[in-house]
């Protein structure tokens, strides 16, 4: 599904150059559920953004579904985002002027889904995250956890084949986090490929495959076929040399 080969990302600000990603190579197969861990500032979000076509990369190659992403125009990237990819952002990033229903509706509108079908899907997704009764509320009228669930509903509404989640449980209590995790597992079971960034070792363990990002470099730690993983060991400089599977 996704292949990155030596992808690098350098942020250039005034005088400082940040190598957010370097020589990042990774293959993700259709239907995988991958948990990404790593210290703060290590480049997890950057990786996710590049994988999700939200950001250009500075070097290397990236193909998604056989399409070379590096050669695409802005419009083509927008189309792929809209058609194939669902996002759960690190912040909730709900649009404050729109109510919950309308927030979930945004990607469907850009995809050109007819109004009737939109309604069915939105209510379905809100139901799934247990917020159907709050459809007409504005984001600021909901708790952080509820907002996160709206963000999840929005990502699911487009029935994406590829779901990118950046700390989807970061703002939730343990119980809620588990429920969200179960939701993601269910989506994964239904065929979607999921890449999830998390700080929570327990959640990471539930994912069949864990990768770790340290200083913009990849350490592919484990590849358990469906079995719970052992806790990710503390990042080591040499971690990326002991790549297992992939």
């Amino acid at each position: 599904m996704l292949t990155m080969h030596n992808v690098g990302k350098i942020y250039q600000t005034d005088s400082v150059q940040t190598h957010a990603l370097r020589d990042f190579s990774l293959t993700v197969n259709e239907g995988e559920f991958i948990a990404v861990t790593g210290p703060s500032g290590s480049g997890k979000t950057t990786f996710l953004n590049i994988a999700g076509l939200l950001e250009p990369f500075t070097s290397g190659q990236y193909t998604l579904d056989g399409i070379d992403i590096g050669g695409l125009s802005d419009n083509q990237r927008a189309d792929i985002r809209n058609q194939k990819i669902g996002y759960i952002f690190q912040g909730f990033n709900l649009i404050p002027d729109l109510n919950i229903y309308e927030n979930v509706e945004v990607p469907l509108r850009y995809r050109g889904v007819p109004a009737k079908e939109r309604k069915v899907r939105i209510l379905e997704c809100l139901e799934q995250v247990g917020l159907a009764s709050r459809a007409r509320h504005l984001p600021q009228q909901l708790s952080g956890g509820q907002q996160q669930r709206v963000a999840i509903a929005r990502a699911l509404a487009g029935k994406p084949r590829f779901l990118l989640a950046d700390e989807p449980t970061g703002n939730l209590d343990t119980l809620m986090a588990r429920q969200v995790m179960e939701l993601l597992e269910e989506i994964n079971q239904n065929g979607a490929t999921i890449v999830m960034v998390t700080h929570d070792p327990e959640l990471a363990r539930r994912a069949p495959r864990n990768i770790q990002v340290v200083d913009g470099e990849l350490a592919d730690l484990t590849f358990y076929q469906g079995k719970p993983a052992t806790p990710a060991s503390a990042p080591e400089k040499s971690a990326h040399e002991s790549v297992v599977g992939g």
Binding site: T45, N49, G52, L54, E55, D74, N75, A78, D79, R81, N82, Q83, Y87, F89, Q90, G91, N93, L94, I95, P96, D97, L98, V106, P107, R109, Y110, R111, R154, G158, D166, E167
Partner: protein
């Protein structure tokens, strides 16, 4: 999607009421001012009689002896002497033509129940009505016969007919002008003109006359002009008859010449007339000189639309530009503040086009609101012009074309203001605002 964008625009406007109101007002004031000056300008420069403005002509004769100076561009007096007007009218030719001048009478019915009122009147020959296509409600112009031998006839305007005769057909009845009785032969519609192009003497935007009496009444009743009288040499007048013989110019003259050939023929007639007069001792100059201008040329020659008017329109557009610049600043601030939201939309699949369209629609909604409010402001402005300056009364109105132009100009202005901010915001990289907040 378009309706959705309008919906989003209205929410956005509601969510930032102060900035939005400021922007709408900025456009409205700019449009209001522009429309006020443009309306006046438009009315001033409008062709007053489009289908005939090329056919109706005003002849001017250079009656001055060699070395005489006049203040017009071509050094030709801008009115005719009484004798030249009469002679050109009586000359042997078929072109409809008429001398004319403005005067006035005390109008009454010689009964105690109707108070006399002073009404402006125009002295013309019967051809005047057909040249200027004055529509009759009752009756018709007086005949040639009447204007020659029984000239105590009058054509009254609708408003006088309404006042004195309750709008009934008054043809055949008599009214009194000063102390003489005149028989009404026709009732003509009120002349609702913006530019008094047929007589610029009392100002191009003066009100029309309410009565028409035969030109031949002038010598009989010794009627003086309410317009200007000018001369090029010193003359001592004693009495009205000497005015008629004098070299003073105070009469207007219009002739309808439908084709170039007709114009040529009438030019030849003028030339022949001047040569004839020269042989009788007038026009002592090396080269005989005349002018024959149609209505369009006449208005230009008389500078009905002055340079000041043009400058005023230019200034008001400049003011609109200043408003546009202000709106541009406000939009920039407003749109850039929304960049995070745009980032989210981009991430969720919005193309640059979607984002651009959304913001241009929002700008248009503001522009349209400003345009409509601008019309209201322009109406207030025109009302102000009308009440402070009665002279501009007929001019300071807005016609349909400008009513439509206002929102169009407002939309264009808002486009100009909104293009850059919308372009800037649609270039938002989706990722920038999505990192942890």
């Amino acid at each position: 999607m378009f309706l959705h964008y309008i919906d989003l625009s209205i929410r956005s406007i509601k969510s930032t009421p102060v900035i939005s109101v400021l922007m709408v007002f900025a456009i409205a004031i700019g449009i209001g001012l522009t429309m006020t000056s443009l309306s006046v300008f438009h009315m001033m420069s409008m062709d007053p009689i489009p289908h005939k403005s090329q056919a109706i002509h005003f002849p001017q004769l250079n009656i001055m002896d060699e070395g005489g100076e006049w203040h017009t561009d071509d050094n030709i007096p801008y009115q005719l002497t009484y004798q030249d007007a009469i002679n050109l009218y009586n000359a042997d030719a078929d072109f409809p033509r008429s001398p004319s001048f403005r005067s006035g009478f005390s109008v009454h019915l010689n009964t105690p129940d109707v108070k006399p009122t002073m009404e402006p009147a125009r002295l013309v020959y019967q051809e005047f009505f057909s040249i200027f296509e004055r529509p009759f409600i009752f009756g018709a112009p007086w005949s040639k016969e009447e204007q020659q031998s029984k000239p105590y006839v009058v054509v009254i305007s609708e408003s006088i007919n309404n006042r004195l005769f309750n709008g009934q057909n008054s043809v055949g009845k008599s009214i009194y002008l000063d102390n003489k009785s005149y028989r009404i032969v026709g009732v003509v519609e009120d002349w609702d003109h913006h530019i008094k192009y047929y007589d610029l003497n009392n100002g191009a935007f003066n009100s029309p006359e309410k009565l028409y009496v035969p030109f031949s009444i002038a010598p009989l009743e010794e009627i003086g002009t309410w317009g200007n009288t000018n001369g090029w040499k010193h003359e001592t007048l004693n009495g009205y008859q000497s005015l008629l013989q004098s070299e003073l110019v105070w009469v207007q003259f219009w002739v309808q010449l439908n084709t170039a050939a007709e114009k040529e023929a009438f030019s030849a007639l003028i030339m022949a007339y001047m040569e004839d007069q020269q042989s009788k001792g007038r026009f002592n100059r090396d080269n005989l000189q005349y002018a024959l201008r149609n209505v369009t040329q006449w208005l230009k020659y008389n500078q009905v639309v002055s340079e000041d008017n043009r400058i005023l329109v230019g200034l008001s557009f400049m003011f609109l530009l200043v408003c546009v610049a202000n709106i541009l600043g406000l939009l920039l601030a407003k749109f850039l503040k929304r960049a995070p939201e745009v980032g989210v939309r981009r991430a969720l699949g919005a193309s640059k086009k979607h984002i651009f369209a959304q913001h241009i629609v929002e700008v248009s909604v503001i522009g349209l609101a400003g345009g409509i409010l601008g019309i209201v402001i322009a109406q207030l402005g025109l009302w102000g012009v009308r009440t402070t300056n009665r002279y501009y009364e007929a001019l300071a109105t807005m016609d349909v074309s400008l009513l439509l132009a206002a929102p169009t100009i407002a939309l264009m202005a808002s486009f100009i203001a909104g293009l850059y901010p919308a372009w800037l915001v649609c270039r938002t990289q989706p990722a920038i605002y999505l990192k942890s907040q």
